[in-house]
C-alpha cells in the first residue's frame, strides 16, 4: 500500500507536465488513491477484513489504471503507427483515411447503380403500363400487349431496396470511422480513463476505452482488409497468369462495370407481334447486368462493413472484459 501511494505521488508530477486531460486523469487517480487510503485506514481501525480486502482490491485496480494511462500515452503512438502503416493505409495518410476513401467510392458506385436501376425500372414500367384502346360509341376494345414487362418490376424494386440498404450500411460505417478520427484521442479515451478511476463509474469508463480503441482500429481495419481481399481476388481472376481461363471467363460478368439494361419499346396494340421476346430480352439483359451490381453491393458494400462491424463488436466485447467491466454487446450485432 505504501509503495502504491509512493508511485502515485511520483505520477503526480507527470500530471502537471502533461496536457489537460492527462492532468485531469492524474488528479482523478490521486483523489481515488486518497479515498482508498481513507477506506483502508477505516478497515484497519475497525479491523474489518472485508473493507481492508476491498481497499487492496481497489489498489490493484488503481495500479492497473496507472499502467493503462501510461499505455495510452504510448498507445497514441502505437495506434498511430498501425494507422499510418502503408500496408493498411495504402496511398492515404492513415488507415482511417483509406477506409473513408474506399467507402466513398463504394457509395458513389452504388448511387450511380441506383440511378441506372431506376432508369431501367422507369422504362420498363412505362412499357408495361401501355394499354391500347379503341372505343367508338361505347363499343370497342383495349389490349395490353406489353404486360410481359411487369414481371420485371419485382426484381427491380428489390434491387432498389438492397442498393438503398447498402448505401446506408456503408454510410453508417463511414460515420463510425469519422467519429473515431475526430474524438477517440481527444475525448473518448481520456474520459474513459478518468471514469475508470472510480468504482461506480468503472463500467462506463471501461466501455468508453474499449469503444474508442475498437472504433479507431477495428472498424477501419475491417474495411481495409476487405479492400485488400478484393484486390487480391480481382488480381487473381483478371491478371494472374496461373488462373485458368475458364475461371477468368466466369468472373468477368461480376467484375465488369454494369452497363445499361436495355428495354425495347413495345407496341401495345400488337398482341400478335414479338411481345414475349421483348420482355424476355430485357430480362436476360438485366440478369447479366445485375451480376456487375452484385459484386459491388454484396462484396464491397455488405461484406466489407459486416466484416468491420464483426471485428468492432468482437473487439468491444473482448476489451470491455479486459478493462474490468465485461459488456454483452451481442445486442449491437443484431442491428446490422
Amino acid at each position: 500500500m505504501k509503495k502504491l501511494a509512493l508511485m502515485l505521488l511520483l505520477l503526480c508530477s507527470l500530471c502537471f507536465a502533461a496536457g489537460p486531460w492527462q492532468a485531469y486523469a492524474g488528479f482523478a487517480i490521486l483523489i481515488s488513491a486518497t479515498m482508498l487510503i481513507a477506506v483502508y485506514i477505516i478497515g484497519v481501525g475497525f479491523d474489518v477484513r472485508e473493507i481492508k480486502f476491498l481497499a487492496k482490491d481497489e489498489g490493484i485496480q488503481l495500479l492497473v489504471l496507472v499502467v493503462l494511462m501510461i499505455a495510452l500515452m504510448a498507445t497514441d503512438g502505437i495506434l498511430n503507427t498501425i494507422s499510418t502503416n502503408s500496408v493498411f493505409a495504402g496511398d492515404e495518410d492513415t488507415m482511417q483515411d483509406a477506409a473513408i476513401v474506399s467507402l466513398d467510392e463504394t457509395i458513389d458506385d452504388l448511387s450511380s447503380y441506383l440511378v441506372e436501376v431506376q432508369q431501367a425500372d422507369k422504362k420498363m414500367a412505362r412499357e408495361s403500363s401501355r394499354t391500347a384502346s379503341c372505343v367508338l360509341s361505347g363499343g370497342g376494345h383495349s389490349v395490353s400487349a406489353c404486360g410481359g414487362y411487369s414481371m420485371l418490376a419485382t426484381p427491380l424494386s428489390m434491387s432498389g431496396s438492397i442498393l438503398g440498404y447498402s448505401i446506408a450500411q456503408a454510410a453508417a460505417v463511414q460515420k463510425l470511422v469519422e467519429i473515431a478520427q475526430e474524438f477517440v484521442f481527444v475525448l473518448i479515451l481520456p474520459l474513459g480513463i478518468v471514469l475508470r478511476t472510480f468504482k461506480f463509474t468503472r463500467g462506463a469508463g471501461g466501455l468508453l476505452i474499449a469503444l474508442g480503441i475498437s472504433l479507431y482500429i477495428f472498424v477501419p481495419a475491417g474495411i481495409v482488409f476487405s479492400e485488400i481481399l478484393q484486390e487480391k481476388f480481382e488480381y487473381a481472376v483478371t491478371t494472374d497468369p496461373e488462373t485458368p481461363a475458364s475461371w477468368k471467363a466466369g468472373a468477368d460478368p461480376y467484375l465488369d462495370p454494369p452497363g445499361d439494361i436495355n428495354v425495347a419499346e413495345c407496341e401495345a396494340d400488337e398482341p400478335w407481334g414479338n411481345v414475349g421476346a421483348e420482355a424476355v430480352d430485357a430480362y436476360r439483359d438485366m440478369k447479366h447486368e445485375l451480376k456487375g451490381y452484385m459484386y459491388v453491393f454484396m462484396v464491397k458494400a455488405t461484406l466489407g462493413p459486416i466484416l468491420s462491424l464483426l471485428m468492432f463488436i468482437g473487439g468491444l466485447r473482448a476489451m470491455t472484459a479486459l478493462f474490468g467491466a465485461p459488456v454483452d454487446v451481442s445486442a449491437l450485432a443484431r442491428f446490422f
Partner: protein, 352 residues
C-alpha cells in the same frame, strides 16, 4: 420539462433515512436477542448486517454526492476543456447534456424521416400518374380534320403511366423510411427512459434496497436495486452526455439536419410545398409527356443523401444510445457484484 437538478428529492432521501433507521433497529434488536438468548449465530449475523448497512448508507451518500457534482459540472466548460464548441444550453449540467443529446437525436431522426417521407410521397404520386395518348395527335390529317384524331368522336390511343417506374426508388425509400421510424422511436424511447430516471423512479429503489439488503435471503434483491439506482442515475446520463459533446458531428447540432456540400435537403422539411414544380394544371399536359415530366418529376440525385441521412440518424438515434444502455446494464451487474451478489441481467440485455 423541469431541469433534473431542480427536482426536490427530499422525500426519497427521507425514505432512505427511515429505511436505514428501521434496518438499524432490526439489526440492533437482533443483536440484543442474540446476546439475551446466548445465540452466537444471531449476534454474528447482526454484526455482518451492520457492516452491510454502513456500506449501503455510504453508497447512498456517495450517490447523492456524485449527483450533486453532475449538477455542478457545466457541459460548456467540459466541452471547452476538450477543445470543442458546445451547442447546447450554456448552463447545461451533465444531466441536461444527456437530455439535450437524446432530444437532438430524436429531432435529427425526425428530420430524416420527414425528408424520406416527402420523397416517398412524391415518387408514389408520380408512379400513379396516368395519361391517355390519342392516336394521330400532331399529324397533318388530324390538324386538318380533328375528328380523325383519336381524341374526337370516340377515342383511340394508349393509356400509359409515364412515370410508373419508381418501384426501385420506392423500394429503397420504404426501406429507409422504416429505418428512420425505428431511429425516431428508439431515440424517443431512450429519452423516455432518461426522463423516467430523472423524475425519481430509480431513486425510490434506494430505500427498498437498503432495507432488503439487510434481510435474510434478500441481499441479492436489495443489491440489484441499489446497483440499478447508481447505474441509471450516474452511468446512463454520463455516457449520453459524452455523446452530447460530440453533437456537432453526430447530429449536426444545433441544426439537426444532414449536411453535405453536394446537396441541400432543408427545403424538403417544409412539407407544404412540392419544390420541383409550380402549382396548377395545364392544357399542355394532355398532349405533351415531356411537359408532364418537367412539371412533376423529382430529382433522383437526392436518393444517395437520403440513404446517408438515414444511416447517420440510425447511428445517432439507435446505435449509440444502445451502447449507453448496455454500458449502464453492465455497470449494474458490476456494482451488484461489488455489493456481494452477482445478478444475471442477460435477459434485459436482449431487450435492447
Amino acid at each position: 420539462m423541469a431541469d433534473m437538478c431542480s427536482i426536490d428529492f427530499t422525500t426519497v432521501y427521507m425514505l432512505a433515512a427511515y429505511a436505514s433507521v428501521i434496518t438499524a433497529a432490526v439489526i440492533g434488536i437482533s443483536y440484543m436477542v442474540g446476546n439475551f438468548t446466548k445465540n452466537p449465530k444471531v449476534s454474528v449475523w447482526a454484526k455482518t448486517e451492520a457492516i452491510q448497512l454502513v456500506v449501503s448508507v455510504i453508497s447512498v451518500i456517495i450517490l447523492v454526492f456524485i449527483m450533486n457534482a453532475f449538477c455542478l459540472i457545466n457541459m460548456n466548460a467540459l466541452s471547452e476543456l476538450f477543445g470543442f464548441t458546445y451547442t447546447g444550453s450554456s448552463s447545461a449540467s451533465i444531466y441536461g447534456g444527456a437530455e439535450h443529446y437524446l432530444e437532438g437525436a430524436a429531432k435529427f431522426s425526425h428530420n430524416s424521416l420527414t425528408v424520406t417521407r416527402y420523397h416517398l410521397k412524391g415518387f408514389t404520386v408520380l408512379a400513379y400518374i396516368g395519361m391517355f395518348e390519342c392516336d394521330g395527335v400532331g399529324s397533318a390529317a388530324a390538324l386538318a380534320f380533328p375528328f380523325l384524331s383519336g381524341c374526337m368522336y370516340g377515342y383511340s390511343g394508349e393509356n400509359i403511366a409515364p412515370f410508373g417506374g419508381y418501384g426501385a426508388v420506392n423500394g429503397m425509400l420504404t426501406a429507409m423510411f422504416n429505418a428512420n421510424i425505428m431511429s425516431y422511436i428508439m431515440s424517443l424511447n431512450y429519452l423516455f427512459i432518461l426522463r423516467y430516471v430523472y423524475y425519481g423512479f430509480v431513486l425510490f429503489l434506494l430505500p427498498i434496497g437498503i432495507f432488503a439488503r439487510s434481510l435474510p435471503y434478500l441481499r441479492g434483491f436489495g443489491s440489484v436495486f441499489i446497483a440499478m439506482a447508481i447505474s441509471f442515475m450516474l452511468v446512463y446520463p454520463l455516457i449520453l452526455a459524452v455523446f452530447d459533446l460530440m453533437g456537432a458531428v453526430l447530429i449536426n447540432s444545433p441544426n439537426f439536419m444532414y449536411y453535405d456540400p453536394g446537396t441541400d435537403l432543408r427545403p424538403y422539411l417544409d412539407e407544404s410545398v412540392y419544390p420541383e414544380t409550380s402549382s396548377g394544371a395545364s392544357f399542355a399536359m394532355m398532349f405533351d409527356r415531356e411537359y408532364l415530366r418537367d412539371k412533376y418529376d423529382l430529382e433522383v440525385s437526392n436518393l444517395k443523401y437520403i440513404a446517408m441521412f438515414s444511416a447517420h440518424s440510425f447511428i445517432a438515434g439507435v446505435f449509440l444510445p444502445s451502447v449507453a444502455l448496455l454500458g449502464t446494464i453492465a455497470s449494474a451487474v458490476y456494482i451488484s457484484r461489488l455489493y456481494g451478489e452477482e445478478i444475471d441481467l442477460s435477459r434485459i440485455m436482449q431487450m435492447v
